[in-house]
């Protein structure tokens, strides 16, 4: 279990009980809630939020990085997404949905930023090696180059599966696609990458199948 998950789930349980009794915001407004109580509730929320960020920040950042292809923009997108998540934190009801909720917010934030043309589309820096100590650096560079050939939707689906660990149904919900379309994109993405990186092996396997 990722670090911080316990804190997050405890915080969410406490908050959910309060929400069930009187409604979260009603509870905040009720006169019986003294300043101290509200402070404790805020601290509880904050602790739960921090637990969630601890647990998922790295994956969210990497997902944003591969969408934006730029470290600064990725950090900006995740920052905006987490601000949005914090503002809507009280609307979250299921701890199980947290991870996909955060990934969806990052995805939407990226789409918003791209729509506003805030991002100048940058090419991959294919010659630089930024992954965490890859076993074969040259293969990693080739793979980074190969990722450029994927369509935006195929790449997003593949990133969500590999980085986020989501299944096809979850990816479909996050990207607003049908599950079948996600399956097609995932298969095509892997085929395209392997065709590019292992042309001989891939041709042989294609003949076998």
């Amino acid at each position: 279990m990722p670090a911080g998950s316990n804190d997050f789930e405890k915080g969410l349980r406490v908050r959910s009980r309060a929400a069930v009794r009187v409604g979260f915001f009603d509870a905040l407004q009720h006169p019986s809630w003294r300043r101290k109580d509200r402070g404790m509730l805020f601290e509880g929320r904050k602790k739960a939020f921090e637990g969630a960020v601890d647990a998922y920040y790295d994956d969210l950042y990497r997902y944003a990085y591969w969408l934006c292809r730029n470290h600064w923009q990725a950090e900006d997108v995740v920052q905006e997404a987490l601000s949005r998540a914090w503002r809507n934190w009280s609307g979250l009801r299921e701890a199980r949905a947290l991870k996909s909720w955060l990934f969806t917010i990052v995805h939407n934030e990226f789409m918003r930023a791209a729509k506003r043309s805030r991002f100048v589309s940058s090419e991959f820096d294919a010659d630089s090696l930024e992954s965490d100590a890859p076993a074969d650096p040259s293969a990693a560079i080739e793979l980074r180059r190969a990722l450029r050939i994927l369509s935006e939707e195929s790449r997003q689906a593949l990133l969500l599966q590999v980085l986020g660990g989501f299944n096809c149904a979850e990816i479909a919900a996050m990207l607003g696609m049908r599950e079948g379309a996600v399956m097609t994109r995932l298969s095509r993405a892997r085929q395209a990458l392997r065709r590019k990186l292992e042309p001989d092996d891939y041709a042989m396997e294609a003949n076998i199948s």
Binding site: E50, D58, E75, R87, E130, A140, L147, R190, Q191, S209
Partner: protein
């Protein structure tokens, strides 16, 4: 399960291969080899996607998002606030402010002028002509009828005090031959308008019931 089904499943999500797929791979050399390369490829892919996260980014994200003030306001609000501030600053800079000396002229007219007229010694016409010449201004008939002249204390010194009946009402003029100022200053208070304007040999304060009346007197005085 056959070879085709296994390969389809592996290309879709190699982590989700079931028992049937693994059993097939145990009996099929080609599929076993395919799966071996597939797993190797997936490992490389996952490793490549794991770009390093910048130091401190997580802390910055928490601090930025979960502040007690509930994070950021929309950008348009920040833009609007900035615009409003710029407009307010511009207005504050351009808007005429009451200058203390011009205000002193108004206070003189309101609180002291009547007493000054009673107490002050009238100025000799010759003296007045000399002062006017020293200041580099004129007192043409066009200005109006001079009803009173005298010398009175004003703003820490003495001024030659004139009360003139003009076409636009009463105008008080204070001639200050030894009081030099750098810029023209204005004030409006107590229903009166005032200016103090620099002239060649000193300065002149003009107080009247309206801004146009002050402006007219200033124009006539300084048009020589």
């Amino acid at each position: 399960m056959n070879c085709l089904e296994l390969r389809r499943m592996a290309m879709l999500d190699p982590r989700q291969l079931g028992e049937a797929a693994m059993e097939h791979a145990e009996q099929c050399d080609a599929c076993r080899e395919f799966l071996s390369r597939t797993f190797q490829f997936e490992t490389e892919l996952a490793q490549t996607l794991r770009v390093p996260v910048p130091d401190g980014a997580r802390g910055r994200a928490v601090r930025g998002a979960a502040s007690p003030t509930s994070a950021r306001q929309p950008r348009w609000m920040a833009l609007a606030a900035g615009l409003l501030l710029a407009v307010a600053l511009g207005v504050a800079l351009v808007w005429p402010r009451n200058d203390p000396m011009a205000l002193a002229g108004i206070d003189f007219v309101v609180f002291e002028e009547a007493q000054a007229i009673l107490d002050a010694k009238p100025v000799e016409p010759e003296v007045l002509r000399r002062v006017v010449a020293q200041l580099g201004i004129t007192l043409p008939d066009q200005l109006g009828e001079v009803r009173y002249t005298g010398v009175c204390p004003f703003a820490g010194g003495f001024a030659h005090h004139l009360v003139v009946k003009t076409a636009m009402g009463k105008v008080t003029i204070l001639l200050m031959p030894d009081r030099r100022i750098d810029v023209r200053v204005v004030a409006a208070a107590r229903g009166l308008a005032a200016i103090v304007t620099p002239v060649a040999g000193g300065s002149v304060a003009i107080v009247a019931g309206s801004q146009p009346s002050v402006a007219r007197a200033e124009m006539i005085l300084t048009s020589s």
